[in-house]
Amino acid sequence: MPTITLIEHNGTQHSVMGEVGQSVMQAAMNAMVPGIQADCGGACSCATCHAFVEDAWTGVVPAAEDAELDMLEFANERQETSRLTCQLTIQENMDGMVLRLPESQY
């Protein structure tokens, strides 16, 4: 199972075991990582599972589709590397991937 590291805004690190095919959001929720809300449960409707993909891993994640980009435009503290984690499906090659969480999802 790929392991993904999520780093809270305050620096707290969480190593999360994910299953291939599951979303990064779901893996983070299962591990009770604070800082991800996922209000809509993964329907790409709320933009409360926002995270920044660390530079070294941006090439590994597939590009965002239009709906996600439109949502991201309004995510707090949006950056080039911003993604909605409900739209990131875990693949074998994501083992070791690092994402940082924004200060707030609202």
Binding site: S45, M71, F74
Partner: protein, 411 residues
């Protein structure tokens, strides 16, 4: 007041979220989550769409895996609460087991309003509320030739889009005159009507259904009040829900279109809260009127608010309500309550299916409906959640951009 045990009745979105938020917030006492459905608590929204299309598997519907409940010491009890003994602060279950509580959270949800017409129990007639409903419906939906949907609210239309995508001939009957009339503006209804028609869905408005006709116990048609019979091998209805209030009523809790609660989501018993689809609360986004909101975000927000209060961080519930539905390639997001709006400004174009309707009441923005314009939805959510207010006059400017306005008016 130190709490040592919280009992939650109802293991849907609201009930589950209370348990999760309490643990996340550091609550160390006993948490009992009572649900009368088998299996692990799960999300319902995909049941009428992505799940039927096979885009999401059953194991991914669950909120959390079984290990989570063990690790977090959330006692998941598959049973039915039958009595609230307020005097002794305990809930009696069908198994005759009793759970004592310092605080009780009622998250009993709602059930589908029944059709209440002849033929409603024929084989091939479905409502969609539970995973069991969806599991029974999925194989039928895949093979159906003639589908009749009764009711053109969110659930009916989500299913109509699924059935059309799977190649069925789909007809929708509704007593009203337009799509999702209770929830959206006529302009947005119109966009969805055109889209559904382009997918091959036919509509029969202002029509009641007299009966469902069967042969050998199986549905073969739906008879409308005007006498026309629509052939059907599958009927799906979605004509609203009824809050599950029996337990609360029998316990003597105050009832008003659901379980009546105050701004802190407390019932008239200070040891009992009610949240989610069943709770009727004073809504600041509806002029303070007692309002019952059937939506996942409302369930989540109320669950978090009650959890925070139980952890000693009470604050009145003021979250801005929002809703979404996915139909075919259209994502509709609604934020705010448009009840009583008196003017509207539209953005984007219906032809492109990228369209937003801003609803105003006495010149103040009260709701934003967005189709495939999620940026407008999120901008609207921010504008409706804090000052300054957007006026209709400002929004009527020819080159008005909601997202830019929000960004320019951040405090």
């Amino acid at each position: 007041m130190t709490l040592s045990s919280v009992v939650i009745v109802g293991a849907g979105q609201a009930g589950f979220q209370v348990a999760a938020s309490l643990r996340q917030g550091g609550f160390a006492g006993r948490i009992s989550l009572v649900g009368d459905e088998p299996g692990l608590p799960y999300q319902r929204p995909p049941l009428s769409k992505a799940y039927l299309l096979g885009k999401i598997k059953a194991e991914n519907l669950v909120f959390r895996p079984a290990a989570f409940f063990d690790q977090q010491q959330i006692e998941l009890i598959h049973d039915k609460a039958v009595i609230i003994d307020r005097q002794n602060q305990r809930v009696v279950l069908e198994s005759e087991k009793a759970l004592e509580y310092d605080h009780l959270v009622l998250a009993t949800g709602a059930h589908n309003r029944p059709l209440s017409i002849p033929g409603e129990h024929l084989e091939g007639v479905f409502g969609i509320k539970t995973l069991a409903d969806a599991d029974a419906l999925a194989p039928r939906a895949k093979d159906a030739k003639n589908v009749v949907v009764i009711g053109c609210g969110f659930i009916g239309l989500e299913f109509a889009a699924v059935a059309a995508a799977q190649g069925a001939s789909v007809q929708v009957i509704d007593r009203g005159g337009r799509l999702m009339a209770r929830a959206i503006s006529p302009q947005m209804s119109d966009l969805f009507l055109k889209a559904h028609e382009s997918w091959g869905v036919k509509f029969h408005f202002s029509q009641a259904v007299d009966q469902i006709i069967g042969e050998n116990g199986k549905v073969v048609g739906v008879e409308k009040a005007d006498g026309e019979v629509l052939p059907a091998d599958l009927v799906v209805y979605g004509i609203g829900v009824i809050p599950n209030i029996t337990l609360a009523t029998e316990a003597g809790l105050e009832i008003e279109n659901g379980i009546k609660v105050d701004a802190d989501l407390l019932t008239n018993d200070p040891h009992i809260s009610a949240i989610g689809d069943v709770a009727c609360f004073p809504c600041v986004h509806n002029h303070g009127e007692h309002t019952r909101i059937e939506s996942v975000p409302n369930a989540m927000d109320q669950a978090r608010a009650v959890s925070a209060r139980l952890l000693g961080k009470a604050a009145p519930f003021v979250a801005t309500p929002w809703f979404w539905t996915d139909q075919g390639n259209l994502k509709l997001q609604i934020v705010g309550l448009s009840t009583g709006y008196d003017s509207a400004v539209t953005l984007g174009s219906m032809e492109s299916n990228q369209f937003s309707v801003l609803c105003f009441r006495r010149d103040h923005l009260v709701a934003v409906e967005s189709c495939n314009r999620s940026g407008d939805h999120l901008a609207g959510k921010k504008i409706l959640s804090r000052p300054p207010e957007l006026t209709a006059a400002e929004a009527s400017a020819s080159d008005f951009d909601l997202k830019a306005w929000e960004m320019a008016h951040r405090l």
